[in-house]
């Protein structure tokens, strides 16, 4: 394969893995809670900011930021689910969307108040900041790292959901809430836990994006959440497998589109979504439908 093609593919896979880290939590939360959380992108932004703040406080240790940042954001997720979302589960979808959209605006302003409105440039990760030569063109080591992390997260999620007692409970509650409740599953607690886990995943995505994007801005979650939504729709709402493959497809499509059909690159993604919606409205891997 030519140098050009290999780099287009690599760029596509790495872009896809960044989307996957956000889409995974989004689809998981929808699968279990049946809530489409617009504010999922805000967790991505918060993950980036909190990670960066911890990193700076700890003398530049990125890994500590990556460990602690998303955990702190998971606590924010706890507060949001426990004190807000819980009260709209029984309402129509529109109310849930309104509430989570309001949270997007609140989180954006909170970030502006805490960290300021300007964009903040963030450093590269020591040890992963270089690049390697692939077919005589440099490719960042960090993106290779992301290409490895994405499938690892997918495997971890698979193992968690399919092979553990916790996973069985989650799947049970997701397929029939009343029945799960009847056999003694504490559904509200489970919902809180899953929502926190989703927030943690999205915050991980944000924290991991920081060194590559090199920049923190208010509103940074909004671009990625749109891509994640597209991915989740294509893959099937609630399907992790669908979200993983959808992310790869969207990442590659955007890379190939930008390189070879530059005037259509934005359309391609949405054309694909439209086609999927017309031809298979439940998405490729929708569960239980």
């Amino acid at each position: 394969m030519s140098q050009s093609l290999v780099h287009v593919i690599l760029a596509g896979i790495s872009a896809g893995m960044f989307i996957w880290l956000v889409a995974s939590g989004l689809t998981l939360v929808f699968g279990v809670l049946r809530v489409l959380n617009f504010a999922h992108g805000s967790f991505y932004m918060l993950g980036a900011y909190v990670c960066y703040t911890v990193l700076k406080a700890m003398g530049g240790n990125f890994w500590l930021g990556l460990l602690l940042g998303p955990l702190i954001v998971a606590l924010v997720g706890y507060a949001m689910e426990r004190f807000l979302l819980r009260y709209v589960y029984h309402l129509e979808l529109a109310y849930q969307l309104l509430l989570t959209f309001a949270m997007v605006l609140i989180f954006d302003d909170a970030v502006k108040m805490i960290w300021g409105a300007g964009s903040t440039s963030s450093p590269a990760v020591p040890g992963l900041s270089g690049s390697v030569s692939i077919l005589d063109r440099r490719f960042p080591v960090y993106n290779l790292f992301i290409i490895a992390v994405g499938p690892l997260v997918a495997l971890g999620l698979y193992a968690l959901l399919e092979k553990t007692w916790w996973g069985r409970i989650i799947r049970a509650a997701s397929s029939d809430r009343e029945m799960a409740s009847a056999i003694g599953v504490k559904v509200p607690t489970l919902y809180t836990a899953v929502f926190m886990f989703g927030a943690w995943l999205s915050a991980m995505g944000g924290a991991l994006a920081v060194p590559y994007v090199g920049l923190l801005t208010t509103g940074m979650g909004e671009t990625i959440i749109i891509e994640a939504f597209v991915v989740v729709v294509i893959g099937g709402l609630g399907s992790l497998k669908g979200a993983f493959l959808g992310s790869l497809v969207i990442g590659l499509l955007s890379s190939f589109g930008t390189r070879y059909i530059p005037m259509l690159d934005m359309f391609l993604t949405f054309i694909l979504m439209a086609v999927v919606l017309l031809w298979r409205p439940q998405g490729f891997f929708a569960e239980g439908s």
């Binding site: 760029a11 502006k112 440039s121």
Partner: protein, 429 residues
């Protein structure tokens, strides 16, 4: 003023600085014209300012605000405009045209604005022009750069209410071409924003450079939608085309991201001539810090180290003291806008739109960015901003403009009537 964010103690704090500034006597501080002789204008003079205060570019709005607010404070502390105070309200314009129009209507219809200022996006500026004619208030554009605003809306359609104090796309397209013609690069490519600003600047750069340097080739173009965080595919496109020069008006945070990712991809090892028309923005220079490579051509709408006049140096010092920041270019244009209004109102002896427009037309203004003249035909402020090569300087934690080249505005700004070859540089006469 208290309700609009200025506090009494800020005034006190500013007292000395402003008094000193007034004593040093930049031309703009002196009462000029008729106003001393005519009865005081019924005040206050209300300025509605709009800029982007939310989303990824929210930092720009804050910098607009710093400049404009500082001017309001200084003018009011020195007695106001023709003896009346300025009042300013700042609203978030986002980047959407409907929001900009809503703000303009609110300012004029509900708040009673005498003047409007601000506006970041070219799309917003073009949408606002007819609204300004209808509302009959002067709008001073401080950031939006499309040449269509002044060529089409003001000059051709005759919307006299619109003025622009910042450099337009001529600085990004034409001036860049004048610099590029003296570089050895014969093949150029671009990564540009996928909207009006990106298309119009690349077209202008190609046309002007094509005329200045026959034989030059444009080998690739890659377009980045607003909000792009991953430029790897765009960088691949450029590196596949192997140009000698890269031109990009990608701006603000996206430019920081693009530069970092291009560095990682080794782009600057392969492409030696890189031109960034808005690379001299403070958020970009400070954001990239030492990661900005050396010997990149950068420019902007104002750069705080140019011109080397006492007025500019003094202003930069006051700005740093007031806000603890170097002034961004939108801070300078926001600041100078207030002094342009002041000078024009005092010359007209009135704040009425119909009387202030002729006062602004052809008006000269000594501002931190240098000597400005508002061209009568298209209401574009003529002033020079240098192009320069990035270099490290121990006095600053970021790269500054080293070797500077000044392409005078009168040589690179398109000329009325904006039709035919002789209206676009290089000029025949």
């Amino acid at each position: 003023m208290d309700e609009h964010g200025t506090k009494r103690r800020d005034f006190l704090k500013l007292g000395f600085v402003t008094a000193a500034a007034a004593a040093l006597g930049p031309g703009v501080m002196k009462p000029v014209g008729l106003w001393a002789a005519t009865p005081a204008i019924k005040g206050p003079i209300k300025v509605g300012y709009q800029a982007v205060l939310s989303g990824t570019l929210a930092g720009y709005g804050e910098f607009h605000k710093m400049g404009a607010l500082m001017a309001v404070e200084e003018i009011n502390a020195a007695g106001g405009i023709a003896g009346t105070k300025i009042e300013m309200e700042v609203r978030d314009s986002t980047l959407a045209a409907p929001a900009a129009i809503q703000n303009a209507r609110y300012f004029v219809d509900s708040w009673g604005a005498d003047f409007l200022a601000g506006v970041d996006s070219s799309g917003q500026a073009l949408a606002l022009a007819p609204v300004m004619a209808e509302l009959d208030r002067i709008l001073m554009v401080t950031h939006a750069a499309t040449e269509k605003l002044t060529e089409e809306e003001v000059f051709k359609k005759g919307i006299k209410q619109v003025f622009r104090i910042c450099t337009p796309t001529y600085q990004d397209g034409n001036a860049a071409a004048f610099v590029a013609k003296d570089l050895p690069a014969m093949t150029w490519a671009t990564i540009n924003p996928k909207y009006e600003y990106g298309y119009t600047t690349w077209k202008m750069f190609q046309e002007t450079l094509g005329k200045l340097k026959p034989g030059v080739k444009f080998v690739a173009d890659s377009w980045a939608p607003f909000g792009t965080t991953d430029f790897r595919s765009h960088i691949n496109t450029i590196m596949d085309a192997k140009p000698e020069g890269l031109y990009s008006v990608v701006w603000a945070g996206e430019l920081i991201t693009m530069m970092k990712q291009a560095q990682q991809a080794g782009l600057f090892d392969k492409i030696k001539h890189v031109m960034l028309p808005v690379g001299a923005a403070m958020d970009v220079l400070e954001g990239l810090g030492p990661e900005m490579p050396d010997n990149i051509w950068i420019s902007g709408r104002y750069f705080f180290l140019y011109p080397e006049t006492p007025q500019n140096k003094d202003w930069v010092a006051r700005f740093r003291k007031r806000w603890n920041h170097y002034p961004a270019y939108v801070s300078e244009t926001g600041y100078s806008t207030m002094f342009a209004f002041k000078k024009a109102v005092e010359a007209a002896g009135s704040k009425e739109t119909a009387k202030v427009i002729p006062a602004l037309e052809g008006m000269e203004l000594d501002s931190p960015a240098g000597h400005r003249v508002f061209r009568k035909e298209d209401h574009q402020a003529m002033y020079d901003v240098p192009w320069g090569l990035t270099k490290a300087d121990p006095a600053y934690p970021f790269k500054i403009m080293g070797k500077q080249v000044v392409i005078p505005a009168k040589e690179c700004f398109n000329r009325p009537p904006f039709e035919g070859a002789s209206c676009q540089p290089p000029f025949k006469s």
